[in-house]
């Protein structure tokens, strides 16, 4: 277990470093950063001065190490547009984003797990087919468009829910539903196939031969094994929900980091963009690490390696 943890940590660290390099390079993609910093009408001399002031005349790797050192101390630079520290921009808004992502993850799992298990148990019946159809439809719906339709139907025509803002829990209903259409089908399919595989396994046959009730066979012997890949996917999906949150946040006017990222991209505010990209990556890496640990706890074969 100790070895497993150590190896896993080492890989995560390596990936995190690589991702931060990529994230940092994103900033440099824009061409001459000093040019955009100095403003549109800046003279070459002014640009050179700005470059010097921001340390942009130094070699790339020096700038990178400088940036990482500062980032580790909580200094992610400041926004080109608002001149506020990036770290504050992110911490102010991360709560909303995580809230929506958690709600969606929860909603997806609440729907997908029972549905997936049920579909596997009743394979090739109408239950199975409708569950699969829901998954196929969910996967095909363009999120941004679905959000607009929800606003139009539930916000405007029926007036059941508010359509923008974060004031009450009811404000989160539509964003949560929208975002769930992304994750739910994946969970459903994975639970279903995992369960189908497990139900065909020899140890399930053994459990039935022992006279255990169908419920015990299913929940004790089946689900524990079928759930392993779902745990991994949950971590991955949470990362994607964070990364894809800008869609719902911008449409429902939720003040989260997704919206911030979108605005910053549109304003070419690269210090903010790179920070958010690296931030989400690091969260993702942490989550996959966590899911591996949970899996190791659930599966003794991994634990004892």
């Amino acid at each position: 277990m100790g070895y497993f943890l150590l190896r896993r940590l080492a890989i995560s660290l390596l990936v995190a470093i690589t991702v931060s390099v990529i994230g940092f390079s994103l900033l440099r993609l824009s061409g001459n950063l000093a040019e955009s910093l100095a403003g549109e009408d800046a003279s070459p001399a002014q640009i050179a001065e700005t470059a010097k002031a921001y340390g942009l005349d130094r070699p790339f790797h020096i700038q990178y190490f400088d940036w990482v050192t500062k980032a580790l101390q909580g200094d992610l630079g400041q926004s080109l547009f608002t001149k506020e520290p990036v770290i504050e921009l992110i911490t102010d808004r991360i709560g909303t984003t995580i809230q929506v992502a958690c709600y969606s993850l929860l909603l997806s799992l609440i729907i997908a797990l029972p549905l997936g298990v049920l579909a596997a148990m009743k394979q090739n019946t109408w239950i199975d087919r409708s569950a699969l159809s829901i998954a196929v439809f969910g996967q095909a719906i363009p999120n941004f468009w679905f959000a607009l339709i929800l606003i139009w139907v539930f916000g405007v025509l029926l007036r059941w829910t508010p359509i923008s803002g974060t004031d009450t829990w009811r404000h989160f209903i539509l964003p949560t539903i929208t975002l769930s259409t992304f994750a739910m089908p994946q969970f459903m399919r994975l639970t279903r196939t995992g369960m189908l595989d497990v139900l065909e396994s020899d140890y399930i046959r053994t459990a039935r031969a022992k006279g255990l009730s169908p419920a015990v066979v299913l929940w004790k012997h089946g689900l524990r094994n079928a759930i392993l890949p779902v745990v991994s996917l949950a971590a991955v999906a949470f990362g994607f929900l964070l990364g894809g949150s800008f869609i719902v946040e911008s449409i429902f006017a939720l003040n989260g980091i997704g919206y911030l990222a979108l605005e910053s991209i549109q304003r070419q505010d690269f210090p903010v963009v790179q920070s958010i990209v690296v931030f989400i990556s690091v969260v993702y890496i942490g989550l996959t690490l966590l899911s591996d640990l949970i899996n190791a706890q659930l599966d003794p074969r991994i634990r004892l390696h």
């Binding site: 020899d202 031969a209 006279g211 094994n225 003794p300």
Partner: protein
């Protein structure tokens, strides 16, 4: 619960009459098991032997009530300790499984749940059938693990299946099957996945346990060598039918069905078969069992086939000596054929 079962006219632990299993497959209806009769008594070993696809495993699953959903089963009689299994509910059948009837499967590597400890999986069946609490279950598990020859049994309870070798896992499976002291154990190729030296040990163990616990044993295998050594009675299956049945001596020393004869000629016997000589072989392949079948299903591979083999049903003729076979040949004809058969492989 056990012990109170009403004594029936027959004292067979298991009595099966006219068992048929049909399975729906994309190409049609598979006649997996047809008109199978057998019975097992306490302390007796019945071996069901046949090649892959002959229906032997399906037969055992039918008796266990574990057939896949696509399968349908009919029988004239199916009783376990006198109790009619055809009329019980699913719930009642589940109450019997693991309690009065247990099953050991072929692959010990995959037959135990990888995420639970040995102890958990053994105790679970005991508690499920209301034999006692966790403490008694644990004691029983330790007792049985020692019985199947596992040392340091108490510490093994906390281990996971992947920490044990194949031979040990199969011992655990056997111990688990015995948790509730069943009247009948079905073992489906329990030694096929094991090494030969381990195989002999497991077979010896099963025989010892059978003597001690006085249970009926149905042993399913494709290995005629194993059958010869452990069977009290034998049922040879081919294409879903029992083609020959009798005690081990009858079936091996005086096989009456051409299929049984053919199978025995295929196997080299050290010390008897001339090394490097041509073995007997059965030409052709097993027919596909989709749809209604007519006549003797072995006729396409049989060297004695004649017109009488092509139509109608051929019954399992059982003489007074319980040696039955499903063939149109008279005993005299068969014996003559055996004498005439070019038996180059077997040196006198």
């Amino acid at each position: 619960m056990e012990g109170n079962t009403p004594k029936n006219t027959s004292d067979h632990v298991l009595d099966v009459r006219n068992l048929n299993v049909r399975i729906k497959v994309p190409a049609g209806t598979l006649h997996a098991v047809t008109d199978v009769d057998f019975h097992v008594d306490r302390g007796e070993t019945l071996c069901i032997v046949g090649e892959s696809g002959c229906g032997k495993s399906i037969t055992s699953l039918a008796v266990m009530g574990l057939l896949p959903r696509s399968a349908t089963m009919t029988a004239d009689k199916l009783t376990l300790e006198g109790r009619d299994l055809l009329s019980v509910t699913d719930r009642q059948f589940a109450d019997l499984r693991g309690d009065r009837i247990g099953m050991i499967f072929q692959d010990p590597m995959t037959s135990l749940n990888p995420v639970y400890t040995i102890g958990n999986q053994m105790e679970e069946v005991y508690i499920r059938h209301g034999k006692g609490g966790r403490k008694e279950a644990r004691e029983r598990a330790i007792y049985l693990l020692e019985k199947v020859g596992i040392t340091a049994a108490a510490s093994r309870l906390g281990q996971y299946p992947h920490q044990l070798s194949g031979g040990l896992r199969q011992r655990v499976m056997i111990a688990m099957t015995l948790m509730c002291d069943p009247a009948l154990v079905i073992a489906d190729e329990p030694t096929t996945a094991l090494d030969v030296t381990i195989q002999a040990q497991i077979l010896n163990l099963l025989k010892e346990l059978q003597d001690e616990f006085h249970m009926g044993l149905i042993f399913i295998t494709h290995d005629l060598g194993v059958v010869a050594r452990i069977a009290d009675r034998v049922a040879v299956m081919y294409a879903g039918l029992v083609v020959e049945t009798g005690n081990a001596e009858q079936v091996f020393s005086a096989p009456m069905h051409p299929y049984t004869q053919g199978l025995l000629e295929c196997i080299p016997i050290p010390g008897k078969t001339v090394r490097g000589s041509q073995l007997g072989s059965i030409p052709g392949i097993v027919p596909a069992l989709i749809g209604e079948q007519e006549g003797c299903l072995f006729r396409n591979r049989c060297s004695y086939a004649r017109e009488a083999c092509t139509d109608g049903e051929i019954d399992l003729e059982t003489g007074g000596d319980q040696h039955g076979y499903r063939c149109v040949l008279t005993p005299e004809e068969t014996v003559n054929h055996i004498k005439k058969a070019p038996n180059a492989a077997v040196a006198e």
